[in-house]
């Protein structure tokens, strides 16, 4: 039987349009494999850099109305150690694309990390140009179109794997950044990373997160993310991966109607577990059949037409 759900993004073949979002469970090979077993069409690792980072002390996560705030602080063991986790996935899993999320404090750091990741089997790289709570990387690069272009260009000259750019919504003009990334050679865009946020406890009068400020994820940011995808879709020709508060199949469809070719899932795993992949896939499949679409590709950007 034909798979209505198969999609191709920047040359990567996905059996369905759901992906494990960066920063969610992607710290070990075993966790990534489990997400694949649970149905993810592709998986993105936790962001990895050149050197080990412990991340911030706890609290690193705080629940707020309809969402989660987090400030993890990019914890990772450094690419030299993390490459073993990548290898572990690639040893047993060859069909589901593995995308390695990378960050750097300089363009040359991005390139060094990307090269190691590509060597050990990453099918693509997702540039974290959007982490809202670590200085001199992430969003501090992603908020500056020139820096975005510089990093992307340098990577495209040095690695052959497709480059995804994960965008921050914490800018005045996300479409401008998206265009800069695409003009510099980005093969796909992921929109969006978390929205800058904060929570203060009234009894103790203290900010809850140890880092004080963090990024908001979950259903609270879905309308923001849908708008970003919608606006970017009108202006660029590369595939967009939607991310931000996707919990149900309806959410996934909504993002695809706005222009996303696939969707990433993160916060929903905290409430629905890893079963969320299969439940979204099932729902999307039924929707496509009910509406008479022959492929999930037919609904990408459909809200723009007619």
């Amino acid at each position: 039987m034909r798979n209505l759900l198969a999609v191709e993004i920047a040359g990567l073949k996905l059996s369905n349009p759901t992906m494990l979002a960066a920063g969610i469970l992607g710290m070990t090979g075993a966790s990534l494999k489990e997400a694949i077993v649970c149905g993810a069409g592709a998986v993105v690792t936790k962001s990895v850099g050149l050197h080990l980072r412990e991340g911030y002390p706890n609290p690193t996560v705080a629940q707020v109305a309809c969402g989660l705030l987090n400030a993890m602080g990019l914890p990772n063991p450094g690419i030299a150690e993390f490459k073993e986790e990548i290898k572990e996935v690639k040893q047993s899993e060859t069909r589901t694309p593995l995308i390695v999320s990378i960050y750097g404090f300089s363009t040359s750091e991005f390139v060094k990390v990307a090269k190691v990741a590509a060597e050990v089997g990453a099918e693509a790289l997702e540039l974290n140009l959007s982490c809202p709570h670590v200085k001199e990387t992430g969003a501090e690069i992603g908020q500056n179109q020139d820096l975005v272009a510089e990093v992307v260009k340098e990577l495209k000259e040095n690695v052959t794997k497709p480059v995804f750019v994960k965008l921050t919504p914490n800018v005045a003009d996300i479409v401008g950044v998206a265009k800069a990334a695409v003009e510099a050679g980005a093969d796909a865009l992921t929109a969006i990373n978390t929205v800058g946020g904060m929570a203060i406890d009234v009894e103790t009068t203290r900010p809850i997160l140890a880092n004080k400020i963090g990024g908001l994820s979950g259903p609270a940011i879905k309308p923001i993310a849908v708008k970003c995808v919608y606006e970017i879709y009108r202006e660029v020709d590369v595939p967009i991966v939607g991310c931000g508060g996707i919990t149900s199949w309806q959410d996934a469809i909504e993002f695809m109607l706005a222009g996303a070719s696939a969707v990433q899932i993160g916060t929903a795993i905290s409430t629905s577990g890893l079963g969320v992949f299969k439940s979204i896939i099932r729902g999307v499949n039924i929707y496509l059949k009910r509406k008479g679409f022959r492929s999930v590709k037919d609904i990408v950007g459909l809200s723009h037409r007619g």
Partner: protein, 274 residues
């Protein structure tokens, strides 16, 4: 959609109602919290010490009127907690995790060190169901035997047995508690085993469980951040200790034998030898 929020993960600020010195290094902190008082034995909470840290802690008591955590002074967060006084505020979220599954029949419970915090409510539940409990408690030395008196008081009213081992022989028999468990298993039939304590000890319990064909539930400890199954800090193999655990069965642990008892993950995600 239930996707928005879970009540348990909502941070509550509670006042410390009472503090008890259990051993030279362990203090119990009592507080009131409705959700914690409905927790199952073996579930844990995240305890926020404002301006310092947030750490996972097993609930050592979940009475309708008062809940407690029992904390050993071992690091920055626990030291700060030990300096807190009655009337001070701490934050709690949870309860999280699966907790112990309560069974019937002849049961052996093997506890070591501060692993006793999660076993205390378990024994209370087993006791209420008239389960025949053989309780083996191990510690390095006499004054580190946590909750020994309480367990003894409980089990003295039942058919249960209670035996202590210390590594220095200052109380009970000298040696490690798993050797005593092995002796019991060799001469008596048990239908079920529970354990919580240092991981090398629990690993030996897993081997005993496999050898004597007695099903096991073990409560694991890992570094944690989110406690809701997404950050990946506490994973062991494919299992998330905060979500799939903290209580894993012997069968589950057999699947992750290269990892269990051997290494855990650091906050940076790298492997740390246990």
């Amino acid at each position: 959609m239930s996707a928005c929020l879970t009540a348990a993960n909502h941070l509550r600020i509670v006042k410390i109602k009472d503090i008890e010195q259990e051993t030279p290094k362990v203090k119990s902190f009592c507080f009131n919290d409705k959700l914690c008082s409905m927790a199952k034995p073996g579930q844990f909470i995240m305890v926020w010490v404002p301006d310092v840290d947030e750490v996972p802690m097993s609930l050592s008591g979940m009475d309708p009127h008062v809940c407690s955590i029992s904390v050993k002074n071992v690091g920055e967060a626990t030291k700060a907690l030990h300096q807190r006084k009655i009337g001070d505020y701490i934050g709690v979220r949870g309860p999280f995790g699966n907790g112990f599954r309560i069974v019937e029949g002849k049961v052996m419970v093997v506890g070591g060190g501060t692993g006793m915090t999660s076993l205390m409510p378990l024994v209370e539940s087993l006791f209420k169901k008239n389960v025949e409990v053989t309780f083996l408690l191990g510690a390095k030395t006499k004054n580190e035997l946590l909750f020994g008196d309480r367990i003894q008081a409980f089990l003295s009213k039942t058919k249960g047995r209670f035996e202590v081992t210390t590594e220095d022989g200052s109380s009970g028999s000298k040696g490690v508690v798993t050797d005593l468990a092995e002796k019991y298993l060799a001469r008596k039939k048990f239908e079920y085993m529970y354990t919580c304590g240092p991981e090398p000890m629990m690993y030996r319990m897993l081997l005993l469980s496999e050898r004597f064909q007695v099903p096991l539930q073990a409560s694991l400890e890992r570094l944690m951040r989110c406690a809701i199954g997404i950050c990946g800090t506490c994973v062991i193999g494919k299992f998330r200790v905060c979500r799939d655990g903290p209580v894993l069965t012997g069968e589950q642990l057999s699947e992750v034998k290269e990892e269990f008892g051997h290494f855990k993950r650091a906050f940076n995600g790298g492997k740390v030898k246990l």
